[in-house]
């Protein structure tokens, strides 16, 4: 009797446990996998002057034969088109270039900032932490508009430069790569600082003392101990910045030039300007595949790390 009840209890619990595990998978399937499959399907379709603006449209009600016909109408020609037109390749390269460059800048600025935060006196750390997060309390879009104001010919930046006699004639900042880089570094800095701060903050300080005890001057202890141990934070921060920057649309659109577009802008133009949903979808799918690569590399490094020094 007792035993049966126990077994029953375990049974129930395992069902409950399974359900809990299932929820995130259901979520991912419904709101990520399904929409992605729709995008993939559209990327294999053709443009059409219709509603929706592509063919074929799957219609399950029309029967099996018509579905089969629709399937055979799908093709990879949009992907071939992406490869044939220099515009798209240039756009991808531009995005990767901006993302790589600004991630590097973010690292150079973010690491010392995070290091300073982690080494600040305990009672100051919450204050510094809030200061880093504070910009989030204002809308992202408004902050970028503020930068437009600063970058204008008679904007704050040029006023300061003129007042300090660094320049004689006010240079143009808007619609330059410099403006894009500044805007991106400004917007993404917290995403770089916070993960690095988190790893540095929980690092055992006696490790530095141990390094000193074993013959390391401070700078060498930093190089041999602090830096390697902050690697997970650095990688997390770099991914957290690099991936969204590649697809960034707002910042280059508002601050950058229209000469060379980043892939986000190209996608937007295809979708809303040219109403070419299939090509826009193909652009999106290729972008996604591009971004999966660094994540896979990161995971590979993680598993190798966990396996020990072998």
């Amino acid at each position: 009797m007792n035993g049966a009840m126990n077994r029953r209890g375990e049974h129930d619990r395992s069902w409950g446990a399974r359900l809990i595990v299932l929820v995130p998978y259901l979520w991912l399937a419904t709101f990520f996998l399904l929409p992605f499959l729709i995008v993939v399907k559209i990327s294999l379709s053709h443009t059409a002057i219709a509603q929706p603006p592509y063919t074929p449209v799957f219609d399950a009600a029309a029967g099996w034969e018509s579905l089969k016909e629709s399937f055979s109408a799908l093709s990879f020609e949009n992907y071939a088109f992406l490869g044939s037109d220099w515009l798209y390749l240039a756009s991808y390269l531009k995005s990767l270039e901006v993302a790589a460059g600004s991630t590097l800048l973010l690292l150079l600025i973010g690491f010392p900032l995070a290091y300073g935060m982690a080494r600040a006196p305990r009672r100051w750390q919450p204050v510094v932490f809030v200061l880093v997060v504070l910009p989030f309390w204002t809308s992202f879009l408004i902050r970028i508009y503020a930068w437009i104001n600063i970058f204008q010919r008679d904007g704050l930046l040029n006023q300061v430069l003129l007042a300090l006699r660094i320049v004689d004639t006010p240079p143009a900042w808007l619609s330059t790569d410099t403006a894009v880089y500044i805007g991106i570094v400004y917007s993404y800095l917290p995403f770089m600082v916070l993960p690095i701060y988190a790893t540095l903050e929980k690092m055992d300080e006696t490790l530095i003392e141990a390094a000193a005890d074993l013959g390391c001057p401070n700078w060498k202890a930093f190089w041999l101990v602090t830096l390697p141990l902050s690697r997970p934070g650095v990688i997390a921060g770099a991914l957290l910045c690099f991936i969204p920057i590649v697809g960034e649309f707002v910042i280059p659109d508002l601050l950058g030039s229209s000469q060379t577009m980043m892939i986000g802008q190209t996608l937007w133009t295809e979708f809303f300007g040219n109403k070419d949903w299939p090509v826009a979808s193909a652009v999106a799918v290729v972008l996604l595949c591009l971004l999966v690569v660094p994540i896979l590399i990161y995971q590979e490094m993680e598993t190798r790390d966990l396996a020990g020094g072998r």
Binding site: D204, E209, A211, L214, C216, P217, V225, P228, R231, G309
Partner: protein
């Protein structure tokens, strides 16, 4: 750093046990602190250190000799770890000097001191393998690769960690990690090895074994060890001498038997082992014997050297194992004995501890070795018993 070429020649302290490769054989005669001409390897000279207006170490003066195994013992927060960190150079003293081989080491940064520390948390580098951790200190010296490899191997063999060289710290057990930490701090052959609670994280049995291993290692390598511990048994087991600390001050420095049998204060007597304290007043001081009158236990005789004068308030300290317990009154004429009722019996296996409530309400402890297998206790709860002790067992303390 000029290291002696071989481990056997590392004594550097003169004619002590260092010629004995097996270590403890000649320990009997190792007592450089009794030799006024012997020069200390480490000398603390009036060292003080404050943290936020709290004195962590207060005017500590202490000599530690080459080849010595010295234990700093005290309750947590007594300043013993700070003293170690001052020697390692991880903290700087506010006052006083620290001399190594007669030379003030104040200007030497921690990374150039010929002193290594084993940290309480072990502080192993999590991103390096066992091998990498042990080799870390040698690499900083810029030694040739082959020598580093050889010395790391030798050290791993010494602490019996061969075969685990490629593991990372998180893949090791607590005991193995402790050995890596030990190997890492030993591999540079420091003039003084500092051990900060090195065994605190191990379970009791492993701790006991490791204590003896540490002693063997110290004897074999002929190095000077300074260990910090809060465990008085551990200090008694491993050390040549113990420095008992409380509130930043060094209360007593002596060999383990001296600390136990001749504590210089009630505090030390109470901190090291169990003790019964009886308050009294000196009646007479003879050549070797002191007579004390107490309210709790009447007239007491103690064969214990003291500088107390007649009329002084003193305490007679008695170790429980030196107190006899019996049903019958002892054949003394009422001296060094008290009567009471057994209030509690603690059976510890090897010992039985009796808590006896005296007629005036004071509780005294007597410990009796269970030399035969206990079938029936000769002395039971609520029994009326007599406690007695020899004059040699009593210690007279003036503070």
């Amino acid at each position: 750093m000029p290291y002696p070429a071989s481990v056997a020649g590392m004594g550097n302290g003169g004619a002590d046990s260092k010629d004995d490769p097996q270590g403890r054989g000649t320990r009997r005669t190792f007592a450089p602190w009794t030799d006024p001409s012997a020069r200390a390897l480490v000398r603390f000279d009036g060292v003080s250190k404050q943290f936020a207006a709290v004195a962590a170490v207060e005017r500590v003066s202490l000599d530690i000799f080459a080849g010595e195994f010295f234990a700093l013992l005290g309750p947590s927060g007594c300043g013993k770890t700070t003293l170690l960190r001052l020697l390692a150079g991880l903290d700087t003293p506010d006052e006083g000097r620290i001399l190594l081989d007669g030379e003030d080491i104040a200007p030497i940064p921690p990374y150039r001191r010929p002193v290594n520390m084993m940290f309480q948390s072990y502080a192993l580098f999590p991103h390096l393998t066992v091998e990498g951790n042990v080799a870390f200190g040698l690499k900083q010296e810029g030694l040739p690769k082959t020598e580093i490899t050889a010395r790391v191997e030798e050290m791993l063999a010494l602490v019996r960690l061969e075969g685990l060289a490629k593991r990372k710290p998180h893949q090791l057990s607590g005991g193995q990690r402790q050995r890596v930490a030990l190997a890492r701090s030993l591999v540079k052959r420091p003039r003084v090895l500092l051990l900060d609670e090195p065994l605190a994280a191990l379970d009791k049995k492993l701790r006991g074994e490791t204590q003896f291993e540490l002693m063997q290692l110290q004897g074999r390598l002929g190095l000077t060890f300074v260990i910090v511990t809060h465990d008085q048994q551990e200090a008694m087991t491993v050390a040549d001498r113990i420095g008992v600390m409380d509130h930043g001050r060094l209360i007593q420095v002596a060999t383990p038997p001296e600390i136990y049998e001749r504590p210089n204060s009630r505090w030390v007597a109470d901190f090291i082992g169990e003790v019964n304290l009886i308050e009294g007043r000196v009646v007479d001081v003879g050549a070797s014997e002191t007579v004390i009158a107490s309210v709790a236990a009447g007239r007491l005789r103690a064969l214990s050297p003291t500088d107390a004068k007649p009329g002084d308030a003193v305490w007679v300290a008695l170790r429980p194992e030196k107190v006899r317990i019996a049903h019958a009154a002892p054949p003394t004429d009422g001296e060094n004995c008290v009567a009471g009722q057994v209030g509690n019996i603690g059976y510890l296996g090897d010992l039985s501890v009796y808590k006896v409530r005296l007629d005036n309400g004071i509780v005294m402890k007597a410990a009796v070795a269970n030399v035969t297998r206990l079938v029936e206790r000769p002395i039971g709860w609520d029994d009326r018993v007599w406690l007695s002790w020899a004059p040699e067992a009593a210690m007279v303390l003036t503070r």
